[in-house]
């Protein structure tokens, strides 16, 4: 819990409990993105729950996945109107899921990173995690460790680059 305690002291980052919804289309990496968030939160010592609906996840339809972390998490689903963050891998999914955001909640959309600077288009999910990470209490190294674990090691350098692109571009936006 040290990370969380430090974060609260600094008062610069969103304190847990934290509700995150990641939305996109099947095949865009929504589930992997939430795996990474859940992993880094678990290793930081939080209680974590993640809920996914993946029956249609490879057929190009809307996919949304919830991650919650904090001292004790009950329901695995982010209640409507209580999401702190809505991370959308496809812009149209913002409107589909906006009702989940709390007043003052933060949206992170594809335009938050310069897609032209990504080694591969499909690394958008990792880049947007970089954006998100700048607003959460877990340390950069911890995030990169979870990114490393989530993919084939041969893609780590490119993924690291994508993550840092998102993170660096948005640190100044931290609340």
């Amino acid at each position: 819990m040290n990370n969380a305690a430090n974060a609260r002291k600094k008062g610069s980052l969103a304190p847990p409990p934290c509700n995150i919804v990641v939305a996109g289309l099947g095949g865009q990496g929504v589930l992997t993105a939430t795996d990474i968030i859940a992993d880094v939160a678990l290793r930081a010592g939080y209680d974590v729950k993640k809920s996914e609906i993946k029956g249609m996840s490879q057929r190009g339809g809307s996919v949304a996945c919830d991650v919650r972390f904090g001292a004790e998490i009950l329901s695995p689903m982010v209640p409507a109107g209580e999401a702190d963050f809505l991370l959308a891998l496809e812009a149209a999914q913002l409107d589909t899921n906006r009702h989940l955001l709390r007043p003052g909640g933060v949206t992170i959309e594809p335009s938050a990173v310069d897609a032209a600077r990504l080694a591969q288009k499909k690394m958008l999910n990792v880049a947007l995690l970089g954006v998100l990470s700048a607003r959460l209490p877990m340390a950069e190294d911890a995030w990169l460790e979870s990114v490393r674990a989530a993919f084939d090691p041969k893609y780590f350098d490119a993924n690291r680059q994508a993550f840092l692109l998102g993170r660096a571009g948005n640190e100044k936006n931290a609340p």
């Binding site: 249609m56 109107g81 589909t96």
Partner: protein, 544 residues
């Protein structure tokens, strides 16, 4: 994902891990969302897991293993238990020598199912004990408890989970080490296992006696617990609803039921007495509320509108507030569709163009009912395309009957289409009939599992292949044709037009591998080649 001995597992993975730790000797099932990952994870851990052609066979195999004194598990989605219900009801009479756990993964809200039936009713109907976990830790603990209960009372146990338990990842702290279960050994028990009327009558009485004992034992069972809170509001709940209810009403006292058949009525009555108002919070059918009220215990049930769909924190708040105003529908997302480049697109283009009346079935291809194809007229259950198509052919006027086609996928055909084909040859409609088997070489919708028609087992290793065209011919269908549906080619449509015009019984196999698994298929084929070369003792090109 893990930190120390804490693992972030899905409910399915937790069930698999518990089965592994319990020394389950055999897990059998048929893929179905949200149950599929249980056997895949069990196999990955080193467990002996297999896909059977359908859930009925899977359960029968598990029953056999449990008759042999082993610990066995059968897994399926909720509708799979309909298929397996025949063995379930009588296995409750026979009981088992070892342990038998049946995992039913229900899908309230129908994320990926054709109905939202509540399989808690099966526990009552068949007369088997039932446990309902509410997160992955409980999925783990309850599988272990189910094995113990099954072994102690020699009875099959139903572990009933739901989508949000199966597919939510929550922290699990497993116990250490694996059990060494008793070795399998056959002990003859003709009166116990042969359910002819003379033996089944006493077996039914034995079952009811066991349930009576289990019911008394359940009164003090640790799987049901009270979360103390205020006296003003009491909540009785089970499964995932427990989590929503705790979050929606942190001030309430909660009776959390984990062992939900037979119910601990004395415990429930005492809890209800201890609070001023008592509401039952449950997803799906009002199973708990009805049973508790039937026992003469006054509790509030949810309003009827909450029978439909999943519960969540907001809906539980509404139930507690007695709110029955219409609920705002969430904005519609983008519906799924057949993949770009999917060969089934060619088939549905033709079906639409030829104005066919399509009796459909269950799989990816059910998406052919949506835009832009809208080329499917019915979808009932696994295998129903055959029977429904034949029924239409029998009664419709000839000019309509001649346009009726049954469309079924390869895995679904093996699951329960074969009997329909036998029916077609046995009771042929006067206008003939056309069955299209969409063969993409995998159980695609559930995440690309193997089936007997792929010639590979759950572990993707080679095994005897069921050849669909041979099967069709041996059922008595003379007009059997294999066509590759390709964009830009009219070969499939020509074959369909000819089959429809023939007035005969025809099976058209539209065969082209699913584009999503092209890479995996290549690997499997190389592996098969290696195996064959090893058998022959020849050098193998696949290893060079």
């Amino acid at each position: 994902m893990d930190a120390g001995n804490k693992h972030l597992l899905s409910g399915d993975e937790a069930i698999a891990l518990a089965a592994w730790h319990a020394g389950v000797a055999l897990g059998a099932g048929y893929p179905g969302t949200p149950s599929t990952e249980i056997l895949e994870s069990f196999s990955a851990l080193g467990g002996r897991a297999q896909w059977s052609p359908n859930e009925k066979v899977a359960l029968e195999v598990a029953i056999g293993a449990a008759f042999g004194g082993a610990r066995a598990m059968a897994t399926m989605k909720h509708v799979g238990l309909n298929v397996a219900s025949d063995p379930l009801f009588t296995a409750a009479y026979t009981g088992v020598a070892g342990a038998l756990v049946i995992v039913s993964a229900d899908d309230p809200g129908m994320h990926s199912s054709q109905n939202e039936q509540d399989n808690r009713r099966y526990a009552v109907a068949a007369g088997v004990p039932m446990l309902e976990p509410s997160d992955s830790q409980e999925a783990y603990d309850f599988l272990l408890a189910a094995i113990e209960i099954s072994e102690r009372w020699k009875i099959p146990v139903l572990l009933r989970a739901t989508t949000r338990v199966c597919h939510s990842y929550t922290v699990v702290t497993p116990r250490s080490g694996r059990d060494v279960p008793p070795a399998a050994n056959f002990v003859r028990d003709v009166k116990g296992r042969v359910m002819v009327p003379g033996y089944a009558r006493p077996a039914h009485r034995r079952l009811r006696q066991k349930l009576g004992e289990i019911s008394a034992w359940n009164e003090d069972c640790a799987l049901n617990r009270v979360v103390p809170g205020g006296k003003a509001l009491g909540i009785i709940t089970s499964g995932i609803s427990f989590m929503h209810a705790r979050e929606a009403a942190p001030e309430a006292s909660v009776l959390k039921l984990g062992f939900t058949h037979p119910l601990p009525m004395r415990k429930i009555a005492a809890f209800v007495k201890s609070v001023e108002r008592c509401v039952v919070i449950e997803e799906g059918d009002p199973y708990l509320a009805e049973a508790i009220r039937a026992a003469g215990i006054p509790v509030e049930a949810k309003p009827e509108m909450y029978r439909f769909g999943e519960l969540d924190v907001a809906r539980v708040r509404r139930i507690l507030a007695g709110e029955t105003s219409p609920e705002a529908a969430p904005p519609p997302g983008k519906p799924p569709q057949l993949c770009e480049g999917c060969s089934y697109r060619v088939v549905f283009d033709s079906l639409r163009r030829l104005k066919c009346i399509v009796a459909g079935d269950i799989g990816c291809y059910t998406l052919g009912s949506l835009q832009p194809f809208e080329a499917m007229d019915s979808c009932v259950c696994m295998g129903a395309s055959l029977g429904v198509g034949l029924g239409l052919r029998h009664v419709l006027p000839a000019e309509q009957a001649r346009r009726v086609v049954s469309v079924i996928g390869d895995s679904t055909f093996v699951h329960s289409g074969i009997s329909g084909l036998v029916e077609m040859a046995y009771n042929p409609p006067p206008t003939g009939h056309v069955v299209i088997i969409l063969d993409n070489g995998t159980t695609a919708m559930t995440g690309h599992q193997e089936h007997p028609g792929t010639g590979r087992n759950l572990q993707h290793e080679p095994t005897r292949k069921l050849v669909l065209e041979d099967m069709a011919r041996s059922c008595g269908i003379r007009r059997v044709q294999v066509v590759e549906p390709r964009a830009g080619s009219d070969a499939f449509e020509r074959a369909l037009v000819e089959a429809l015009a023939s007035g005969e019984l025809a099976v058209l196999i539209a065969r082209r591998p699913c584009i999503l698994i092209a890479k995996e298929l290549k690997e499997y084929e190389q592996r098969e080649q290696r195996c064959q070369c090893q058998e022959k003792g020849e050098p193998c090109a696949a290893t060079l």
